[in-house]
């Protein structure tokens, strides 16, 4: 049986553009429905994609139905058709779509990493594009299947972390040495330091401040 995307592509002359639009919508809608910022971003960039705007509702419906064959067709065509310079342009658009609302959803983070492997754009290069676009490092994807991850996420500022939570906040294994703890702390504190977020929007600044405090608190627990 044909994938839903293949049925749609059959009616168009712009298969590659539609697959690009599909892949961008997948990452943009990874956190659920598209919010206003993301819609505005997609609207701006879809004008250049033939068929992107015309088919966007149908593409979103295919994504919502989680039609696996369609994801496969889109990825296969992008892998085959995008040229070297187009791959970087696509990754840049994908990062923009993933962070248009100043928040990188866990699902979007996973999809970015899939595109990195699919198009053979290294994670370091994706990291550079991400930093240029957002001003911060590409984080590791969160794990909503872990109880610890939820405990850290729901941690009330000022409340003390357990040692296990503190290691996880700094992205370390429990066997990490003091030198590794210090190194991770410096890197993350630098990344989320409020001075770097003076000129960004309030929402992104607050998120950075919150993360900065968590990193500090975790380091306090582990350095005792």
């Amino acid at each position: 049986m044909n994938s839903k995307l293949a049925d749609l592509l059959a009616r168009s002359e712009h298969q590659v553009d539609i697959c690009v639009a599909f892949a961008l919508l997948w990452i943009a809608a990874a956190d659920g429905a598209l919010d206003q910022d993301t819609r505005a971003y997609m609207g701006r960039h879809f004008e250049a994609l033939s068929g992107g705007l015309e088919y966007s509702d149908q593409l979103l419906a295919i994504i919502a139905a989680n039609d696996l064959s369609s994801f496969l067709v889109a990825c296969r065509i992008l892998q085959r058709e995008l040229r070297e310079e187009e791959k970087y342009f696509f990754m840049d658009l994908a990062i923009g779509a993933a962070t248009a609302n100043h928040h990188l959803a866990t699902s979007a983070n996973h999809i970015l990493r899939l595109y990195s492997d699919l198009l053979e754009v290294s994670l370091e290069q994706v990291g550079v594009l991400y930093r240029e676009k957002t001003g911060s490092d590409l984080p590791e994807p969160g794990d909503p299947g872990s109880v610890l991850w939820w405990e850290i996420r729901e941690h009330v500022p000022g409340q003390r972390f357990s040692r296990a939570e503190a290691y996880a906040v700094l992205g370390l294994e429990k066997e990490a040495s003091l030198a590794e703890i210090k190194k991770a702390y410096r890197r993350l504190a630098q990344n989320y330091h409020p001075d770097r977020y003076v000129s960004v929007e309030a929402e992104a600044r607050e998120a950075a401040e919150h993360n900065f405090l968590r990193v500090q608190q975790a380091y306090e627990v582990l350095s005792e």
């Binding site: 059959a10 994801f71 496969l72 699902s107 492997d117 699919l118 794990d143 939820w150």
Partner: protein, 347 residues
Amino acid sequence: MKDLYRRNNLRPRETNRVKIHNCDGNEADKDAAFTILLNQDKKAEYDRVHATLSAIGYVRRHLGLVGKSNWRKRYGDFLATNVDADRSEPRRGPKQAKKVVVEALLSWPVVGLVLLSLVPLAYFSLLHGERGDATFLPDDDRPMYVTSSNVQVHAAPDPQAPSMATLNEFQDVEVDSEQSTGRWAYVRLDDARGGYVLKQNLARGSGEPAQTAKCREYGVWRPESGQHLATGRTGSNTLIVVNPPGLDALVKLKDHEGNTEVFFYVRGGETVTVDAIPDGRFQLQYAIGENYSPACGRFVDNMQAKLDPEFMTFANTSQGLTRQTSTATRTLKSGAFNFSAISNRTF
């Protein structure tokens, strides 16, 4: 991330306290299910990531992207062999699994078959001092093909050894089982050199039918005549292609480095005029067949590829206010312009 549904033998829409309490998962997976799946907000977020990882796992498995740099073993829960089936049928928990195993063991024909199959494996293990691999028994040099894209051929059976060549997905390889060792197969390259490839990247058989089956799985369709199937440079020259009645055709113009600049479709019995041909010297290739696969860029059935050995030149010249472009016509018919047959893989 763990797949808490599969690990606890739960269905996403039938998850409640009693089901989790009675499920087969280990204590840690049960605790996680209680904390995450019984909280509406947490479950909603978990389900979103779960759906994404399932789709990513499906794509990675089918495109040979498992083991690439962003792949992590902890995503292994989402590499189900049949995701659709797994959605409706949760994985068997330890209790059911034990029951099935016991029932199977009580069946005498099964016991006999298991014992018989162990004999050659045990012999092979004794010979080679390592775990036997049924697909690589001695003197078994049947053809094999590559199952992932960009597979490296190493100079020695070691991932750190220098890479000698890169193999493409579905490429046929000749394996020398005498020189294969452990997890590594020794393959002979076209230039008579040999090198080592991880056995997990090879499968028995020929790449062509495997590729065809995979292409069919992605879906097929019949594009319109003149429909462009790939983007490339454009220009103002014209190519007219006549496809006699019969099978549909794929037409490509390739430059001297083998890069495809123009790729379009012509239905059987139709003539198309493509008027955006870029300047340059190109070789025309065409393939007739049935059931075009957009994901693979080829026909799935009865494909026959041909090549015009002569290069065609398209040039856009200007003299004063007069602008002149090139126009060429080709009829896709054996004999005309001495088209010669090429392998479908070359197309």
